[in-house]
């Protein structure tokens, strides 16, 4: 199912290649149908998610494990029955995984080889054993409790790279959001006339990459998808962008490529440090067979490296300046994907990789302080920068910087509320920022400029647009009843912490007491500043007399625009009134994750 979900857009893109580029209507229709099918599959995933509750038993991964075990047994001289039991005893020492140290691992390896019937079989057996061992541990990891739709197949067996897909409560909402936003964006882009075919193909390729990033559970596969995202984005900005598009595209490309390279290095270090060498995220994040957790020093450096990689994507101050440029130059639909999904890749990476794989580093004072303080800077500084902007789109871009700060703050707290709030904030920001960019696009299509000082009075001219815009803007402002409030409040409550579960931001930074909570209090200023720039923008765009005679000719929302905006507006309201819908998906996964990471505190 996940494979279908990921590759449907790619298949659609392949079909598009066959269509002559002149048949624009057909190209658009086919790609919208492709995106629609993807969306239907993703909805199906969400519907069946709870139904399929249970654990990973019975999925592909377990089958692969059984195969590996049979290979071992096939190569082992098991003439005597009791040897099977004995083999298990030797090959899989005490299930308390953390106590499996290198000496034991080496001993087990020797024992396994000794079981083999011949010297040639010994290599086979050892290889299969390593694979089985790795999977055994991965499948019993706490993090796998919530994984669904697992798909596992060997890909590059020389490097033990698997085609390993699964979703859990963290990734499923993002997968769904990706499918939804892609669909809406493709419809919204209906008026693209320049290079339609290329545009749609690249867009669908982008969707495949994004879906892949959220589904991949093999670091190598993850990295491949991560890079797949980069390329179409570069062309989409560079070809269909605004005046300064080349500068923005190259800046985006190089900036994120730097992040990718750092990530690649970390990935290779992880691969070679793990024993047996593996890219399997589950094995990496639970325990490394043949060793305990990665040593603290290694974790520290890896965390730093991965953080830089992800921080560029989030983007975290001071790596954020590619974002406004990329947004301003990108066409509307691409901006939507950029803000709605691409930024989430960074956050997702922090959750999925940094935190779960390197818990000792994540729970260290240094990184808690770093993340929390950077989160605070993002919130406040981003809001100030947004206030300073005169370009509508730039303002929205900086508001993204500000809003992603909440993700860092909530995540650094490592409380259930904080982590859930951070994940929810990613989704909510995906909805509301997508909406904001679409709203900017609507007005840009009509006025052909984005200068806030030249707008005014659109509320009189375009009442429906104003109504929808109000929902989007106030969702972004964090108004209760709309989605933004829920996640922001959760991040704050989580970062402040409680007696039952102490927020790491509050306890680790500075001394316990007032001094430790200054970060949260300063971040709260963001609430005021956000209101400032949102209300000021509303005033400058919608209120007052119509500033320019030309504006009196502006039509209200077209069907195409309503189609793109209405579902997002509805989501804002639904998630604001009944956040449980989404939290029910997330909570289990994130609670487990929080517990796993917190379990290292005090060690």
């Amino acid at each position: 199912m996940l494979t279908w979900c990921i590759f449907l857009p790619l298949i659609t893109a392949a079909i598009l290649i066959l269509i002559p580029s002149g048949w624009k209507g057909l190209i658009k229709s086919v790609s919208v149908i492709g995106a629609l099918l993807t969306f239907i599959v993703s909805v199906n995933l969400a519907i069946d998610y709870h139904k399929d509750a249970g654990d990973i038993e019975g999925t592909d991964a377990t089958t692969v494990l059984k195969d590996a075990q049979e290979t071992i047994l096939g190569g082992v001289d098991l003439k005597v029955d009791h040897k099977g039991a004995e083999f298990r005893k030797v090959a899989y020492p005490p299930a308390a995984s953390k106590s499996f140290n290198p000496e034991q691992y080496a001993a087990a390896k020797e024992a396994v080889r000794a079981f083999a019937s011949s010297e040639t079989a010994a290599d086979e057996v050892e290889k299969a054993w390593k694979r089985a061992l790795e999977l055994e541990y991965a499948l019993h990891a706490p993090a796998t409790k919530h994984l669904r739709y697992t798909e596992l197949a060997p890909w590059i067996s020389l490097f033990n790279v698997n085609y390993f897909l699964a979703v859990d409560g963290l990734s499923l909402p993002l997968v769904w959001l990706t499918a939804l936003l892609s669909l809406l964006c493709l419809v919204y882009s209906w008026n693209t006339e320049k290079g339609t075919k290329g545009y749609y193909i690249l867009f669908l390729l982008l969707e495949t990459g994004l879906l892949g990033v959220f589904c991949a559970l093999d670091f190598f596969l993850f990295y491949v998808f991560w890079e797949v995202v980069l390329l179409p984005m570069y062309f989409l900005i560079g070809i269909w962008g605004g005046k300064n598009r080349l500068y923005a595209a190259i800046k985006f490309f190089i900036y994120t490529l730097v992040g990718s390279v750092v990530m690649l290095i970390c990935m290779l270090v992880l691969y070679y440090t793990s024993e047996p060498n593996t890219f399997n995220l589950l094995s990496l994040m639970t325990v490394v067979p043949g060793g305990e957790w990665f040593s603290y020093g290694l974790q520290w450096w890896l965390f730093l490296g991965l953080f830089v990689g992800f921080a560029i994507k989030v983007p975290v101050f001071p790596f954020h300046t590619w974002l406004p440029d990329a947004h301003v130059e990108a066409p509307t639909a691409v901006s939507v994907m950029l803000a709605g999904i691409l930024l989430k890749m960074g956050g997702y990476g922090l959750f999925r990789i940094s935190y779960t794989m390197l818990p000792d580093a994540a729970a260290s004072n240094f990184f808690i302080a770093l993340l929390a303080i950077l989160g605070m800077i993002n919130i406040v500084y981003g809001a100030f920068c947004a206030l300073a902007q005169k370009d509508f789109k730039r303002l929205v871009a900086y508001s993204s910087v500000s809003h992603m700060g909440y993700v860092l703050l909530g995540l650094a707290a490592l409380t259930y509320y904080g982590v859930n709030g951070a994940a929810l904030q990613m989704f909510n920001h995906g909805v509301s920022s997508a909406m904001m960019f679409l709203l900017v696009g609507v007005v840009y299509d009509r006025a052909h400029h984005r200068d806030l000082t030249r707008f005014g009075g659109l509320g009189l001219q375009m009442p429906w647009y104003t109504g929808v815009a109000t929902v989007g803007f106030f969702a972004s402002l964090g108004l209760p009843g709309l989605n933004g409030f829920i996640s922001e409040a959760m991040c704050f409550l989580g970062a402040w912490g409680g007696n039952e579960q102490v927020s790491l931001v509050a306890s680790e930074v500075g001394t316990h007491g007032i001094a430790s909570r200054w970060i949260v209090v300063v971040s709260l200023l963001g609430v005021i500043l956000t209101a400032c720039y949102i209300l000021w923008t509303i005033q400058r765009v919608f209120l007052g007399q119509i500033k320019n005679e030309e504006y009196k000719k502006f039509p209200d929302l077209s069907f195409r625009e309503v189609f793109a905006l209405a579902p997002l507006g509805a989501l804002c309201v639904i998630l604001g009134v009944w956040p449980k819908i989404l939290i029910d998906f997330m909570d289990g996964t994130l609670t487990t994750m929080t517990d796993v990471v917190r379990s290292v505190i005090g060690n």
Binding site: T321, C385, L387, P480, G497, G498, V520, Q545
Partner: protein, 710 residues
């Protein structure tokens, strides 16, 4: 179905029904309002009428009970927002629940009644306005939010509705959004209250951290079982002050009062509903609801004043009452006078709560809602007639619009404190308690003159209120018309506007008959024990205090009546043509010029804030914007250029160096080839010569290498 909703044993269902009525009205109105006959104004009005009927029924249930009803709660959505399912620690869970107790019922009654009357009034007042349908939609949304605020059993939900009423206030203040002043006023209101809300949020976070729940019952329980004792008492005070900061913003108390006068840019019915009777009292409601928490753990032993928060509330409230009254002296805009008067009266309510009497504070909220709504709607009627807000365009209007004039007079008398009118009683209750508080605390261990301050401000304000209200009334309705043209065109308003006036006038006046009873009634129902009973047999401070109140009752009444008469006489002298000082107020003003100028400038506070916002915020944003562009992005671009330089250099090197070498070799090969071609001449002798040279050269090379290697 009716029997389920109207079940006297379980009022929570009825409360939910009340909540849903305006919501239904809003939803229909916002999507279909324009297409309905009369733009659908009857729909939200009808919805409010149903809500009012249910609320009235609830009120009768309350009235018929001997000592009020037991608090009833209903968890509508348990775990509305929760996380940590299956985790090792317990996570916070936020539930949506409905809580109905005496306080709730009183609030529901006030809100639905005033809201219904304002709906009705708006049918006349807003007639023919642009966006008429949207106005009613917003009114419906506001009523929904305000009612939700009153029935929530959870602090976070209270906060959410609290923000929503703020949003409606923003929309309605900025209803005439073509006007710059209306836009600015709307933003100012939203931002100022949001500043307070940050305090509110901090309070919520502290409470969530310590109590582990945000349900009112749970919060009080945590207070009782000692969660907040010891070191945590510091946090208790912090949380209390945080909540109070929220109340300051919403209820326009000093120093966050600046938005309310500006909010008068909204249509007058909005001012009556939101900025006088209901939304601005949300802060008072919050303090009343959280009273045991603000009083601290001492509450359970009957000692309300063990914590500091209540005293701060009393101080701020009384000072605001006084402060706003001074500004009301010099305002010439009829709505502005009423706005400052509202701030002042809200201060009274906080004073009442701060000195430990929830019943007095809420009683004043109750009476104030009626007479202030009456005054606002009356002023709206006048504005509707003369098309101006300035008192300079009015005068003598009572003859032209008798219904408005007489009802306005009743409102004026009620707020000014004519004995036996509603305002008199509620004000007496507050002042009596303030005196008793001063008496009790001032003589206590840590007593100081500060404890007398609330009472002093309170009694001073009583006289001032009477004066500026009579000034307003006389200048508007009595004397000679100052603007003849406006006067000639003035006419009485339609029935949709006068009927609400009359109903409110009856409520302001009518309580005269039952006023004494009403005080008693409030004391016995809307007291601080609505949620958490005080331990039986505790040595209750309040008992001592209430004795003092009763002993002092007559003296206080005499003093305030004296002040009332003095203010009336003074106002008469200045503002009635027959008066001895008629027309001389300018002279007094210039005699007191520094004071007068500061008053006119609103004590310079607004200017200071404007300066602060414009300069500090502006500077910060400019600095951040530049920093981002010049430094952060500049740094990136710098590295970009460095890289480009190096790539350029590498390009040059490549072209002239590496590639040059290749080309050089190529060229030289070519050239060499050309030369070599000449070698192949075919003459044997040349070949021999050449081979000799070549072998000689080779030998030489080998020799050189040999030497070098050696």
């Amino acid at each position: 179905m009716f029997s389920t909703i109207l079940d006297p044993q379980d009022l929570t269902k009825a409360a939910l029904a009340i909540l849903l009525c305006p919501l239904a009205g809003f939803v229909v109105q916002v999507f279909f309002g324009k297409r309905l006959p009369r733009q659908g104004d009857w729909l939200p009005t009808g919805c409010m009428f149903i809500a009012l009927s249910i609320a009235t029924w609830m009120m009768t249930v309350l009235l018929s009970s001997s000592n009020g009803i037991e608090p009833q709660s209903w968890l509508v959505a348990e775990g509305w927002l929760s996380s940590g399912a299956g985790g090792t620690d317990k996570g916070l869970s936020i539930d949506f629940g409905i809580l109905v107790d005496n306080l709730t019922i009183v609030m529901l009654f006030v809100v639905t009644l005033v809201s219904f009357l304002v709906h009705l009034y708006s049918c006349g007042y807003m007639h023919g306005e642009e966006r008429y349908n949207r106005f009613f939609a917003f009114l419906g949304l506001f009523s929904f939010s305000m009612l939700g605020l009153c029935i929530s059993s959870n602090l976070l939900f209270l906060f959410m509705f609290w923000e929503l009423v703020g949003l409606c206030s923003y929309f309605l203040i900025g209803f005439y959004f073509e006007k710059k002043s209306a836009q600015n006023a709307a933003i100012k209101a939203f931002m100022t209250t949001r500043l307070g809300d940050v305090g509110f949020l901090v309070g919520i976070m502290i409470i969530a951290a310590f109590a582990g729940t945000l349900d009112f019952a749970g919060i009080f329980e945590s207070l009782q079982n000692g969660t907040w004792d010891g070191d945590a008492s510091w946090w208790l005070t912090a949380a209390g002050l945080g909540l109070f900061l929220g109340a300051l913003g919403k209820s326009a108390q000093f120093p966050l009062h600046v938005w309310l006068p500006d909010a008068m840019e909204g249509p007058t019915p909005v001012s009556a509903l939101i900025h006088a009777a209901t939304m601005v009292v949300a802060g008072v409601y919050l303090v009343a609801r959280m009273f045991p928490f603000l009083a601290g753990p001492g509450y359970f032993t009957g000692d309300f004043f063990s914590g500091d928060v209540l005293f701060y509330i009393a101080l701020v409230g009384s000072f605001t009452a006084f402060f706003a009254a001074t500004i009301a002296f010099v305002q010439t805009d009829i709505k502005k006078v009423l706005a400052y008067s509202t701030i002042s009266q809200l201060g009274y309510m906080f004073l009442g709560l701060g000195v430990g009497s929830v019943s007095a504070g809420i009683f004043h909220l109750f009476t104030h809602a009626f007479f202030k709504a009456l005054l606002f709607l009356g002023s709206g009627s006048v504005i509707h007639a003369v098309h101006s807000n300035e008192m300079e365009d009015m005068g003598g209007l009572r003859k032209k619009m008798p219904w408005t004039g007489y009802t306005f007079l009743i409102g004026t008398l009620a707020i000014a404190g004519l004995p036996f009118l509603s305002g008199f009683h509620s004000k007496e209750a507050i002042l009596g308690n303030a005196y008793a508080f001063a008496d009790h605390m001032g003589h206590g261990e840590h007593g100081s003159w500060l404890h007398y301050l609330p009472f002093a401000f309170g009694i001073l304000t009583a006289g001032m209120t009477a004066f500026y209200m009579f000034r307003l009334y006389f200048k508007t309705f009595e004397g000679k018309p100052k603007n003849q043209e406006a006067y000639d065109h003035a006419h009485e308003s339609p029935w949709t506007m006068t009927v609400p006036l009359c109903i409110l006038a009856v409520l302001s006046l009518g309580s005269a008959g039952v006023a004494g009873k009403a005080v008693y009634w409030f004391e016995h129902r809307v007291h601080s024990e609505y949620l958490v009973p005080i331990a039986a047999g505790a040595d209750r401070v309040m008992d001592h205090v209430s004795h003092t109140v009763h002993d002092f009752h007559w003296t206080l009444s005499a003093v305030s009546f004296g002040l009332f008469v003095a203010a009336l006489v003074l106002a008469y002298c200045f503002f009635i043509p027959r008066g001895p000082f008629y027309g001389r107020e300018k002279g007094v003003a210039s005699a007191l010029s520094p004071l007068y100028v500061s008053l006119q400038n609103l004590w310079y506070l607004d200017r200071f804030y404007t300066w602060l916002v414009l300069h500090v915020l502006h500077t910060c944003q400019v600095i951040c914007g530049h920093f981002d562009r010049v430094f952060v992005d500049g740094f990136v671009n710098f590295w970009g250029s460095v890289c480009r330089f190096f790539t350029g250099a590498a390009g040059v090197l490549d072209y002239w160096g590496v590639d040059g070498l290749v080309r050089g070799i190529g060229n030289s090969t070519l050239a060499g080839g050309r030369r070599l071609r000449r070698l192949q001449t075919g003459f044997l002798q040349e070949y021999v010569n050449a081979s000799l040279y070549l072998s000689g050269g080779l030998l030489l090379l080998i020799l050189v290498f040999y030497v070098l290697v050696k």
